[in-house]
């Protein structure tokens, strides 16, 4: 399974999202390849992704995709990440 975290620069916020998503997936006993990318490379980075993690600002720019786009409000709230990832993957 492939998960892509998207932000404006591809560093900073998307990296935090990647790290915390990996922690949540490990807790859930799920294996996935989580990468961080910037919005300008979303087409290639997320071409074969099942899930895109991002904030609401990028939903329009991500546009049409086969991936499930999950909007995260608090990047440090592992409970929110857990609930939304479980719902998407479960």
């Amino acid at each position: 399974m492939k998960i892509v975290a998207i932000c404006g620069a591809g560093i900073g916020s998307s990296s935090i999202l990647k790290v915390n998503a990996e922690r949540v997936l490990a807790n859930l006993g799920l294996e996935a390849d989580v990468t961080a990318a910037d919005i300008s490379s979303v087409r290639t980075a997320a071409a074969d992704a099942q899930v895109i993690l991002t904030s609401s600002e990028f939903v329009d720019a991500i546009g049409k995709t086969f991936a499930d786009v999950i909007v995260i409000e608090n990047y440090f709230d592992l409970q929110e990440l857990t609930e939304k990832l479980e719902k998407s993957l479960g």
Binding site: A9, S13, I16, N20, D38, S55, E57, N74, F76, D77
Partner: protein, 148 residues
């Protein structure tokens, strides 16, 4: 894992900022004071928000201002600004912001470990209010290094 360097001169406590732009410029000034970035980096951080919206407000009360690696970054560094009066960035859930972090990263390669340490600090929900309430730089450094 260790954070990007956060020296005392990169910390501004109880600052007055009327707008989110002023708040981000204060974080940029901290990065400039510590030698992590040139002054133009502030405007790059502002441009990221103008271009993509207030997504840098990644948790209630906290903005992680940053731009891409580039010629205005001198070395990896962090800055912390606490605001006497919180300012709105226009985020639908996490406004108003009382703590602004400035992040400068020299290269994409190898930055993940240090940014991951930010997650270790702020996954503790008490960290943001504790930093916002801190009266001195030493307290903020201790919270960021998870020494208290």
């Amino acid at each position: 894992m260790s954070l990007p360097p956060l020296p005392e001169e990169a910390i501004t406590i109880g600052a007055d900022a009327r707008t989110w732009r002023e708040a981000v410029r204060l974080a940029g000034a901290g990065l400039e004071a510590s030698g992590a970035a040139r002054s133009a980096y502030s405007e790059e951080m502002i441009r990221m928000i103008e271009e993509h919206g207030p997504y840098v407000v990644i948790a209630p009360g906290l903005a992680l201002a940053h731009a891409r690696p580039g010629p205005d970054v001198i070395k990896d560094g962090l800055a912390v600004v606490t605001l006497s009066t919180p300012v709105a960035f226009g985020h639908p859930h996490n406004d108003p912001v009382s703590v602004v972090l400035g992040l400068a990263i020299l290269s994409i390669e190898g930055h993940l470990a240090s940014v991951a340490e930010l997650a270790n600090v702020f996954n503790d929900a008490t960290a943001i209010p504790a930093i916002a309430a801190a009266k001195d730089a030493a307290t903020i450094i201790a919270i960021m290094k998870r020494e208290q």
